[in-house]
């Protein structure tokens, strides 16, 4: 994987650079930003995140499991306590809810990991420490031929630094 990395001081110039790169269809673009900005989301035109699906599915699984545990426990060894029904489902709602939150919540996190591609071992290619602090970075995947084009676009929009990486 090789490409061009441009570091911008200003937000708007980075955004314009992305718009141009998209127009020119240079290659896949990755934006590095210290903090999420809507400008980029618009520029990149991504769809909504799929994380929600996992949250829903595992939430439902959780609540089912959470109900099942106490019911099974109660019926496995039917002991009468306080003259209450052996499987008294009303209080079991509490366990159902807690387990739903537990499983649903954890599932959300792991789904996020999956989609966002973390944990990753290396951050070297196409990344610069500046991006975590103040600069906006634009990484364009470009073969040797398109690379110059990409670099020009980035420079034109006032990238503080532009470099090729592989």
């Amino acid at each position: 994987m090789q490409g061009v990395l441009g570091a911008f001081r200003e937000l708007d110039s980075a955004v314009h650079a992305i718009e141009d790169l998209k127009k020119e269809r240079v290659g896949d673009i990755t934006v590095y930003t210290p903090t999420p900005r809507h400008e980029f989301e618009h520029a990149m035109e991504h769809g909504p995140s799929k994380v929600r699906v996992f949250t829903l599915i595992f939430g439902l699984a959780g609540v089912t499991f959470g109900y099942w545990i106490p019911v099974w426990i109660s019926d496995y060894w039917p002991l009468v306590v306080g003259g209450k029904p052996i499987a008294s489902w009303v209080p079991f709602t509490i366990l159902g809810f807690e387990v739903m939150v537990l499983i649903g919540g954890l599932a959300t996190v792991f789904a996020m990991f999956g989609f966002a591609g973390i944990p990753r071992l290396t951050t070297t290619v196409g990344y610069d420490p500046r991006f975590s602090s103040g600069h906006f970075g634009v990484w364009v995947e470009a073969e040797a031929d398109t690379a110059d084009k990409a670099m020009n676009i980035l420079k034109k929009h006032g990238a503080e630094e532009v470099r090729r990486e592989r």
Partner: protein
């Protein structure tokens, strides 16, 4: 959002609708300011030492109690629950402000949350870690605590899912997991920042692992923000449920003074109230020590103080409602108990509770006091005291004055109870102190989110940030 009564722009450390952090000029400044707070100082070592000492005292006392039997503590039948359960509920309550601020206020888009939520989230996790100890150390046979957990065993003996104590186990463990996950997820981008600033290769490597190789790419941010939202959406009802479940420990019992339907909302309000109190107790000294006045602005404090005032009134209402229910119930046991609560042997505790939780917070009607951090700090200490006594008033007098007059009794804690109580504070502050020097007490990435980014040709006129910074006025923004 900014609720200042003052026209904006007059005082640079007072935010305006347009500018959240007037004194913060750039993203880089955020990093340097907050990352700068890391790294141990002499005072920090002293504080940590004291905390660890207290923790050790508690540990020793507990060891002694385990060896001797619970009789070493001040239990005095019929008061079978005492300081330990009181303190358990106290810490669980503390553990609610964090998630409230980070999750609920996040959903409500309450801006003042940004600067304080990381600290209070950490507080939550450590408070729950502390609270979680007490159900175990109040057991007659603590070495058998795992009987309460539905672990698969060859005899297939399970806990009793109808028991509120088992609900507790589920609720507390879930809450601990989710809130610590929530804390960690929020930390990832900031750890990445630290990683990128770190020179020392070893620390850098560790931080790199902790940051899970976070790169601030748009893809990561996209899913991150989503996940964070859903997690917040989960945490919100969780917060409410956990303290409701804790309140069931009492509400599900027949005991006069416990057996009340009002308990869940009443406990949740109390929890949030005590949590905000503890946030003040922690954030105000932190703000001073770490020179974070530009970040935790007076408006944030003002807003939090309003929340505190609100919950205080809710709690007060709950107290009155309890009495009204007892009065109208026509239940002699209930009535007798509540009369005994305020005028009987436990009057002193009840009045400490009422004054600390209902009377003193009324001072927050004054904006002058809301913005006076010194007063807020003192008040927060009173609130902590009052909330501890609220739980005391719920637990002890009810048990000491139950149905059976022949078994009415009293309660005197011993040095063992106090030792373990002290130890719990030591344990809590030990963790918190370790945290604030290792990891940022503020969400840098989120602060950047509300800053105005650098623009080449800005479409909207951003205010001139170049004017000199006036040192924030601690006494409040009035002339």
């Amino acid at each position: 959002m900014a609720t200042s009564a003052l026209p904006s722009g007059q005082r640079p450390n007072i935010p305006s609708a347009a500018v959240r952090f007037p004194a913060i000029k750039s993203y880089e400044q955020v990093d340097s300011d907050i990352a700068g707070t890391l790294g141990p100082s002499l005072g920090w070592f002293a504080a940590l030492g004291i905390a660890i000492l207290c923790m050790l005292i508690g540990a020793t006392t507990w060891t002694y109690q385990i060896h001797e039997g619970l009789g070493a503590a001040g239990y005095q039948p019929p008061v079978m629950w005492g300081v330990y359960i009181v303190t358990f509920v106290f810490w669980v309550g503390i553990g609610h402000a964090g998630t409230l601020i980070s999750a609920i206020l996040y959903l409500f888009r309450a801006g003042f949350r940004t600067s304080i939520y990381r600290a209070s989230e950490a507080m939550t996790v450590f408070a729950v870690m502390t609270a979680g100890l007490f159900p175990i150390l109040h057991l007659g046979r603590p070495w058998k605590f795992f009987y309460l957990i539905p672990y698969p065993n060859w005899r297939l003996i399970w806990p009793n899912p109808k028991s509120p104590l088992v609900w507790d186990v589920f609720a507390i463990l879930t809450y601990l997991t989710i809130s610590s996950t929530f804390l960690y997820i929020g930390l990832i981008p900031d750890i990445a920042i630290l990683r990128d600033r770190e020179k020392n290769p070893i620390r850098k490597a560790i931080l790199a692992q902790l940051s899970l190789g976070w790169r601030n790419s748009d893809r990561e941010w996209r899913h991150f923000t989503r996940a964070y939202l859903f997690l917040a959406a989960f945490a919100t009802p969780l917060v409410l449920s956990v303290h409701s479940v804790v309140s069931f420990d009492f509400a599900m019992a027949l005991t006069p003074g416990w057996h009340a339907t009002i308990f869940p909302p009443y406990f949740v309000a109390g929890a949030i109230f005590s949590g905000i109190g503890m946030v003040f107790t922690i954030a105000i000294p932190l703000r001073k020590a770490f020179k974070l006045e530009h970040y935790i602005t007076l408006n944030d404090i003002d807003a939090a103080a309003k929340l505190c005032l609100f919950t205080s009134t809710v709690v007060g209402l709950a107290y009155l409602t309890e009495f009204q229910i007892a009065w109208m119930s026509g239940n002699p046991f209930e009535q007798d108990y509540f009369w005994n609560r305020v005028f009987g042997q436990w009057a002193w505790a009840a009045w400490i509770m009422l004054i600390c939780n209902c009377v003193l917070p009324l001072s927050l009607w004054s904006q002058k006091l809301r913005r006076n951090t010194t007063w807020l700090f003192i008040l927060s200490l009173f609130i902590n005291l009052g909330m501890w006594f609220e739980r005391f008033v719920i637990v002890v007098p009810s048990l000491s004055h139950e149905f059976e007059p022949w078994q009415w009794g009293t309660y005197r804690p011993t040095w063992v109870d106090y030792g373990i109580l002290l130890g719990s504070f030591g344990w809590f502050f030990m963790w918190f102190l370790l945290f604030i020097k290792q990891l940022p007490v503020m969400a840098m990435a989120e602060i950047k989110e509300v800053l105005i980014p650098r623009m080449k040709h800005s479409h909207d006129p951003t205010p001139d940030l170049t004017e000199g910074i006036v040192h924030p006025d601690e006494t409040g923004a009035t002339h």
